[in-house]
Amino acid sequence: MEQDTITYDSLENRPLPKWLTDQRDGLNKYQPETLEMKEDKSLSVSFIITGAIILLVVTVLTIYILRKNRKNST
């Protein structure tokens, strides 16, 4: 926070010390991270994957049972 090179044209315009302006503007405080809400797609992804797995299992089982029945009838 050194202010070694202070430039100003008159005493009226001399900048205030940095510690003071930081205190005034609340910049000395720890700034907590601002949390932003992001779109949550995990539920839809979960539904799609579950649906796909169910369809796959039903298809595999249907084919398996149909083949088995055909084998038994011959």
């Binding site: 926070m1 050194e2 202010q3 070694d4 090179t5 202070i6 005493l11 009226e12 001399r14 205030l16 010390p17 940095k18 510690w19 003071l20 205190q23 005034r24 910049l27 000395n28 405080k29 720890y30």
Partner: protein
């Protein structure tokens, strides 16, 4: 309880305390003052007389935040002493007698006594010795400090920038910023911790609002942002800062929780 859990509990306790310690107290307990360098520049070998003078100077500043060095330098008109702080030249002295009381003086002892007694800070009003300039600002400082809830733990001390007895102290204060020596206006320095002087308020900057902001700065929780970038200049003084009295600011804040701020 497992020892690891106990350690975690103790460490988190210490961390939570560190974050609620006030700026003035944290800096006093934890921040070592930066060191000055006093250099003796000479082109000829040191004579016995000069060695004696220099060992006398070393003895005088032995317990202060300063190092003394002799530096051989060619193309020198005459030998001199130079006082540096963070690579900034503060003063030059051409006679060893000018260095008398460099590291100690009555007012510095008084201020250190106040800081060690647990006071929040000392507000040092550096006067120009022009009454029309000095008096209004001084009245405002005293009125604002008296009206502050922390007024009782903030002594206001006056010093003339022309004081001979405190010439080294006044010179160090006027070196806190590079342009202060050329500004003939009253200045208000907040001195806290181990004799750290904040960049001053001066002329019309000495206002009720700014004085209260200075008090707010020193009574706020010591955030990492402040710890990593401490403002101010350490004044040359003895390094004996062991066992200060408990900070009085905590008692006031305990009695008036509404004054707590971050």
């Amino acid at each position: 309880m497992k020892p690891i859990y106990l350690k975690i509990l103790i460490i988190s306790g210490i961390l939570s305390l560190a974050c609620t310690t006030k700026v003035s107290e944290w800096v006093l307990l934890n921040a070592l003052p930066n060191e000055y360098i006093l250099a003796y520049y000479h082109k000829d070998p040191l004579t016995e007389t000069i060695k004696q003078h220099n060992s006398g100077i070393s003895l005088d500043i032995k317990s202060a935040n300063i190092q003394f060095k002799s530096i051989l330098k060619k193309n020198l008109d005459r030998p001199y002493y130079a006082l540096y702080y963070n690579n900034r030249l503060f003063s030059r002295y051409y006679d060893y007698r000018e260095l008398e009381n460099l590291a100690v003086s009555p007012l510095r002892e008084k201020i250190a006594g106040e800081l060690m007694a647990g006071k929040l800070c000392v507000m040092l009003y550096l006067k120009t010795d022009i009454a029309e300039k000095d008096e209004p600002g001084l009245r405002l400082v005293k009125k604002t400090v008296t009206a502050s809830p922390f007024g009782k733990i903030i002594p206001v001390i006056e010093l003339s920038r022309n004081s001979m007895e405190e010439k080294h102290f006044a010179s160090m204060l006027l070196n806190v910023e590079s342009d202060l020596k050329d500004i003939r206006e009253p200045m208000l320095f907040g001195i806290f911790a181990r004799f750290k002087a904040l960049e001053p308020l001066l002329a019309k900057g000495i206002s009720e609002e700014n004085i209260n902001l200075m008090i707010d700065f020193l009574t706020a929780d010591c955030s990492c942002l402040i710890k990593d970038n401490l403002p101010g200049t350490d004044i040359l003084f003895t390094n004996n800062w062991e066992n200060p009295a408990p900070a009085l600011v905590n008692r006031i804040l305990d009695e008036n929780p509404s004054l707590l701020h971050h």
